[in-house]
């Protein structure tokens, strides 16, 4: 403790106790004085010993070497990153990282939602094992919004795709993992296939139809099921089933356009006009051309939907968001 006292490593209270003791104890005072003298003696001897000192030549040589190294380092930094360029690069990097991060969030959100949709398809359409009993679309419309009512009639009970018919078996609203879906079950290509529509907020896909990239975010199959998805104005639409992905894409293309228009019709007239105006302004030959090229190349693409402009709609592309 005496050494710690000399080294000022003790608590203030302990120091005070030692000082009080030293007032009355000449033996400890002498001991402490001896220790202090020894410390100071060693320190003094160490600093005075000529054999331990550095030569002036070494000090100067090392100093110059360090200075040269420092200047070379700063020179290299200067060539690579002059001030304005470093600033610009930093801003660009920050923007790129921000966009990448946003993109990753969208991908993650859409992918997670697709997994829930596949789960609903599996446990509702195939195994009939939902924790919560499904309700009718009309009841869902009364409780949760008019969009559910649209799905009572859209798509039609019998749909003809480019590769064969699909027939609606069941329409209802159900909940899986806390998310509510409008659920339409088809028989298609000898399998049960689900059309699942769920309301989304801006966190899933922030862009309007027609102005976004066809962000294909998930693997081609999720939990053993093919999945195709696209975004309506306020909903995410999934097709899920154990069929070839391209077959599922054909069904999505056959069903998507009327469904998209029907869901859009549930919005207020003002909102729809704003939406259509924005969509119209965003349509470009380049987008259509790129969509066609993509379609020819991979057989999965955005589809071009014919809409009669005179009747309040227009020829409008909407993105089919699917999984490669």
């Amino acid at each position: 403790m005496a050494d710690s006292f000399l080294g000022e490593e003790l608590l203030t209270e302990t120091n005070h106790e030692i000082l009080r003791h030293l007032d009355t104890c000449p033996v400890c005072r002498a001991d402490l004085a001896g220790r202090r003298a020894l410390r100071e003696g060693v320190q003094r001897a160490f600093h005075r010993a000529p054999e331990l000192g550095a030569s002036p030549e070494f000090i100067a040589r090392l100093r110059n070497k360090l200075q040269d190294t420092a200047h070379q380092g700063s020179a290299r930094r200067g060539v690579r990153f002059p001030g304005w360029w470093a600033l610009a690069a930093t801003v660009l990097l920050a923007v790129a990282l921000g966009l990448a991060y946003r993109g990753r969030d969208r991908i993650t959100a859409t992918g997670a939602l697709a997994r829930v949709a596949v789960g609903d398809h599996r446990y509702c359409a195939l195994q009939f094992r939902l924790a919560e009993k499904p309700i009718s679309l009309e009841e869902a419309a009364q409780r949760y919004g008019a969009a559910y009512r649209v799905l009572e009639r859209l798509p039609a009970d019998d749909v003809m795709t480019a590769i064969g018919p699909a027939h609606v078996l069941e329409r209802h609203a159900c909940v899986y993992e806390g998310r509510r879906f409008a659920h339409i079950v088809f028989t298609y290509r000898g399998e049960r296939v689900s059309l699942l529509v769920t309301a989304v907020d801006g966190s899933v896909t922030p862009a309007l139809p027609g102005e976004t990239l066809p962000h294909l975010t998930s693997p081609s199959r999720i939990d053993g099921m093919s999945v195709v998805s696209f975004r309506a104005s306020r909903q995410m639409i999934f097709f899920a089933g154990d069929v070839v992905q391209n077959d599922l894409l054909m069904l999505a293309e056959a069903v998507g356009e009327p469904l998209y228009r029907g869901l859009a019709a549930t919005e207020s007239a003002g909102a729809r006009r704003r939406s259509l105006g924005r969509v119209r302004s965003k349509i470009s030959t380049r987008l259509i051309s790129e969509s066609e090229q993509l379609r020819q190349r991979s057989r999965v693409s955005c589809s071009i939907v014919a809409i009669n402009e005179d009747s309040g709609s227009m020829r409008q592309p909407y993105p089919i968001l699917h999984n490669q």
């Binding site: 001896g34 020894l38 060693v42 003094r44 331990l52 110059n64």
Partner: protein, 194 residues
């Protein structure tokens, strides 16, 4: 050798390093010289230490003890060098034996020369020399010593206690031996150098 001074003002990084680190160069060399006991090796050690310090100076937090920071780098460089040469600081752990090695500490003589003090310090095991030098000479705190040597705080305190006892004993015995004539060079059966 002429010193370069003009570019220093234009390079704030160098200016900061020059102001914070270079004043400790002489003390750092003394430390290296004490442990290496060889001028050439001490110069290599200090040069490598300072080069590393320069390259990682952005990690130094202004306002903290720069000498302690440099000492930590020096100890790291020293450890790496010894490891590369296949040498360890200790043949065995003297902490386990030293308690039995200092049953009696004779009084430390009042008048001691620098040579006697440094001679006695040099005769105790290196692990105790290290903590005594870092604490009493370099005035590092226990925490800074623990960081520099990469040992627990409690080990620093126990080594300091035992090392000082050994030093006092060495000084007392040394003075007695001078008075009564030459005797054995061994110190409590402990190795002087690893």
């Amino acid at each position: 050798m002429a010193q370069k001074s003009a570019p220093a003002a234009a390079d704030p990084a160098w200016a900061a390093f020059e102001a914070e680190a270079l004043p400790h160069l002489d003390r750092l060399f003394r430390l290296a010289m004490w442990f290496e006991r060889n001028r050439s090796e001490a110069e290599d050690l200090v040069q490598e230490t300072m080069m590393q310090a320069l390259q990682s100076f952005h990690r130094f937090r202004p306002g903290t003890n720069c000498r302690a920071w440099l000492t930590t780098i020096l100890q790291n460089v020293r450890s790496n060098r010894r490891r590369a040469r296949g040498r360890s600081l200790l043949v065995d752990d003297p902490d386990d034996r030293i308690g039995h090695a200092t049953p009696f500490v004779p009084p430390v003589p009042q008048e001691l020369t620098d040579g006697e003090l440094l001679g006695a310090l040099g005769r105790i095991p290196v692990v105790f020399q290290e903590v005594i030098v870092l604490c009493d000479v370099e005035e590092l705190t226990y925490k800074e010593i623990a960081d520099a040597l990469a040992i627990p705080l409690g080990t620093v305190m126990s080594r300091l206690h035992r090392g000082r006892a050994l030093l006092r004993a060495e000084l007392g015995h040394r003075r007695q031996s001078i008075v009564s004539g030459p005797t054995s060079e061994t110190t409590h059966g402990m190795p002087r150098r690893s």
